[in-house]
Point group: C2
Chain length 590, copies 2
């Protein structure tokens, strides 16, 4: 059955009446199949209109129905890895209205969320955590004499992350009930990398019978489900796994994007999509204005053509920085994707730099957190010329609580030896990327600005260890980095109307202060710092610590240290005293 025209699909089961998994327990197989069809139809309608993780959710409709049919959540505990594939789970656990009614579409998050439902155990958004979480739940159960099943539902791509492999290794040692459902859709966000995937193919090709079996080697009872989108097969397998007192791995072979032809065909494009036409797959709202990502793609591809030793690395997210399959093909051997394995990618960069190559890794702010020690121990201590370009840092990035980009300045800039740069314009960004590609000094991080692309007319001062005075002023200075430089200029203009004439400064470097420049401000009355990150541990506090020797008052503006979920960016400016008007008031009244 295909849903090219989902809007006219006739519903034979009233989905709005499904309030919990109990409501499907009495279904026979035909009804469960019908249910799956209807869930998929409704899901496609929402995904097309609203956007979201298309392929991952369409691929697991049947598996999710079977899970809730066979197991008894919330008593049985299901942990979804990444949880970007939990939409059908949400539909079956009391939140169907957020999928049926367009006005309710935003009432659920895109990930599991305990504040939404007792069926959701954790806020999750990063990969590879589910088995560790499940071992914790299983151990807690065993200490308390519980009997419930604990299930980790994890995709093939997530399984390649080191943490998942650690837990995969440890879980059977519990000698107790733990069920790992390996949802093998033969894709990461892009294609998979690593020989684990050749091995999974060997298992699929042998219908699970290969004598070489990594899961059996690790002590799992192994169950293979060839038709992972077939309810009968899934129910049988899950029933077999249920209530066992040992570690069981159920390997299900599913189709990413199942049931939506454009998503089945274009798996990478439809991993996550903005609103689209369900028939053609075309995006409904195309924005053709140039972005910082465009600058990155062009600059790096130019670099790759010129320098055969330049290597662009990613840990499974080339799309995050605009590298389409065509761009990757063009980069050829100079592109490395290690799969969702940030630790490996960062430390491989150290090895590349030591070996004389020129590594540049593109990485999403929130995911770089997964390689803190690799940045510190492997790259920074060894002071190797490896470069990292961070995307979606700051408040203009992703706003799910699990994907916030506010923390990278505090995380990165306090590691010794790392130079962390924040450009404030496309021209500065390009110059910093060129430095990153031609890096011979030591670890370098360039933070891609958030927000719309800004151009500057003045030539770029390429000594990025130096602050740049943008507007002259006296008595008061405002030092604002990245996307907040335009805010600072606007605030300064407003302050001038009130008789205060602030100097406006673009710091560019976040990891160290420009002491010479700051010495020149020692007789100022006040310095205001503004950054696109949390105040704690940020560059502003470095300015404060330095200026304290002169007794100059400093005010640090930035984001309060807290987790927030799905904020409105304009409200968020205001809540953090970051609108130009609020900044102007501080400049005037101090």
């Amino acid at each position: 059955m295909r849903y090219n025209n989902v809007y006219f699909c006739i519903m034979e089961i009233d989905l709005s009446k499904i309030k919990s998994p109990a409501d499907i327990k009495g279904f026979n197989l035909d009804q469960l199949n019908l249910l799956s069809e209807e869930l998929r139809a409704v899901l496609i309608r929402k995904l097309a209109a609203h956007g979201g993780h298309v392929g991952p959710n369409l691929g697991v409709v049947e598996a999710t129905v079977a899970l809730h049919y066979v197991f008894d959540a919330p008593k049985d505990k299901i942990v979804f890895d990444v949880s970007h594939q939990s939409y059908v789970h949400k539909m079956l656990t009391g939140r169907i209205e957020a999928f049926i009614s367009p006005e309710d579409y935003d009432k659920v998050t895109g990930y599991t969320s305990p504040s939404e439902s007792e069926y959701d155990l954790f806020e999750v958004g990063h990969t590879s955590t589910s088995i560790s979480l499940a071992t914790g739940l299983a151990k807690a159960r065993d200490l308390q004499g519980g009997k419930e099943n604990v299930i980790a539902f994890i995709g093939d791509a997530s399984l390649g992350g080191g943490m998942a492999l650690e837990a995969l290794n440890y879980a059977p040692e519990l000698k107790s009930n733990i069920i790992v459902i390996l949802n093998d859709n033969q894709m990461s966000i892009a294609e998979n990398h690593g020989e684990l995937y050749t091995h999974l193919k060997e298992l699929r090709d042998s219908n699970g019978a290969s004598s070489n079996n990594i899961f059996k080697a690790l002590g799992y009872e192994y169950i293979y489900v060839k038709e992972g989108n077939d309810l009968r097969s899934l129910i049988k397998a899950f029933r077999e796994a249920k209530d066992q007192k040992r570690a069981v791995l159920v390997h299900i072979n599913t189709m990413k994007g199942e049931g939506l032809p454009v998503a089945e065909t274009n798996k990478e494009t439809f991993h996550f999509s903005a609103p689209f036409d369900a028939k053609t797959g075309a995006l409904l709202n195309m924005d053709s204005s140039e972005t910082y990502v465009d600058v990155f793609v062009k600059t790096i591809l130019d670099g790759i053509r010129k320098d055969p030793k330049l290597v662009l690395l990613t840990a499974g997210t080339p799309g995050a920085f605009g590298f389409s399959p065509a761009h990757r093909a063009e980069a050829g051997k100079q592109m490395v994707d290690v799969g969702i394995a940030e630790q490996d990618a960062v430390t491989m960069s150290a090895g590349l730099a030591k070996g004389g190559a020129h590594p540049v890794m593109g990485v999403v702010s929130t995911f770089l957190q997964r390689a803190y020690d690799q940045l510190s121990h492997d790259v920074a201590i060894n002071n190797l010329p490896a470069s990292f370009v961070v995307f979606y840092g700051g408040m203009f990035g992703m706003n799910d609580v699990t994907h916030l980009g506010f923390f990278d300045i505090a995380m990165i800039s306090n590691i010794p030896n790392i130079t962390m740069l924040a450009p404030a314009s496309a021209e500065e960004y390009k110059a910093m990327l060129e430095l990153a590609m031609d890096n011979s000094e030591g670890p370098l991080v360039v933070r891609t600005p958030g927000g719309a692309l800004v151009s500057q007319k003045e030539p770029v001062n390429k000594d990025f260890t130096k602050y740049v005075k943008i507007e002259d002023g006296s008595d008061v200075a405002i030092i604002a980095e990245g996307a907040f430089l335009p805010f600072a200029r606007k605030a300064a203009a407003l302050a001038r109307e009130k008789g205060v004439n602030p100097m406006v400064v673009n710091p560019r470097i976040l990891s160290n202060v420009d002491e010479e420049f700051l010495d020149g401000l020692k007789d100022f009355r006040m310095i205001v710092t503004v950054e696109d990150g949390i105040i704690d541990g940020g560059f502003g506090q470095k300015v404060s610590t330095y200026m304290n020797r002169y007794g100059v008052k400093t005010i640090n503006l930035g984001i309060k240290k807290e987790f927030v979920d799905r904020y409105d960016v304009k409200d968020f400016f205001k809540a953090n005293s970051l609108t130009p008007e609020q900044i102007a008031e501080i400049l005037v009244k101090g």
Copy 2:
């Protein structure tokens, strides 16, 4: 051959003449065997007198000789995982005098170090990095048309770390020369955990012939060496692996502590040892004074007896917090060791807390870096009551550049929702540990103080979100955490001699400021903060940011943001203006 009495061993090869591996290339097997015996004898003499990683190095004497006999370093590139087992490598690569001559014992570090020798490629001290580094070297070689061999030498325990597994998965995809030597001594620092080790046993028991073979599954050519301390077998295997254009894994079965009976018998004790009697194994210098670790062991064991839901977790380092095999046996099911897999342990803690258990993880400061994202994404975002007790934080801990403990305050305290506490006495530490065991609030980190145990007579104020005034004073305040509180008191006494009467404050909480307390200082002339960590991102900067609203001058004392290696702690105080005399001067002249 056994070396119970190494001092009388007669040397038939003049080790002092071995300046590089070239000097052993012409040896025949008998000479190589003799060389190995002599290297071991010299090594035992140094280890007994000086201390160091005993078992790991004695186990790889033959493997290291074979490596340098078969391969051509430094052209061929050998990356040692952790590199704590690189002593014999150092002996063969121009640094023999640091093992022969007691006066030169400290001329080499305990790990590979590029500043020492071109044969050492990286500063390394954490586990599980070698394969990632090797893939980087191999890729750099391939882009430049090189032909050299790239070798990662990794222990069985390190292989269980997620990053090693990520790289193990990726390396064969290079379709190029990369050799992983798996040094299987059947031990971690303590015993191994995880089913990978059952599988390694299956491989050993079948003499490498088991049809189930995780390495073959991942695409490696697999070579098994049953006698991993036998030179002939090792040389044959390494020759077979050499120059292949694919990924090869050589699995060598070695004996940890080989050749020193006390180390063979007590593998855990002799993983690392202070100076000892080579015959009896007794430590030469026993210090029986009570330590913070003793307080930890006693308090946690008491807690385990009282609360069946309390779980103590470790990632392979129970000895770091004093949990001997006997203590672990007593803790029984309430002790979890996941192997060297910090990510898994931290996130398992989140699962345990969610499941209603009471997790407390003991962890070494520098190793907690390996689980930054797990602390943030899994524990902190979910605001789960999991507790972490950090050891060897601050400047009193380990002083190898790869094991510095200065960075944990900046790393941990800037993650929202985490309460980070720093006790300044044994009584405060115990009270905080009791809070950690009875944690129902949210993520809690207790940082074990460095230095000698301090006692306080006053009752402990258990509202740890509140600063405590230790000595009254006026106009100037000094807020000093942990091991620096006694320094602050001494400095205050010195300042009083000069007519300045500072208030002395114990902050206890590092992750947030006590606003009410600080409000009370708004008319003070100056506040000095002192912390046992880097200034950047530390608690002192939080005090500064807060006090800036009042225009009160603050001075942040702590450690400069830089990597240092094997510092003398007293020199280090002075270099960072942290002696009581220097602090007193700031209090007076500030």
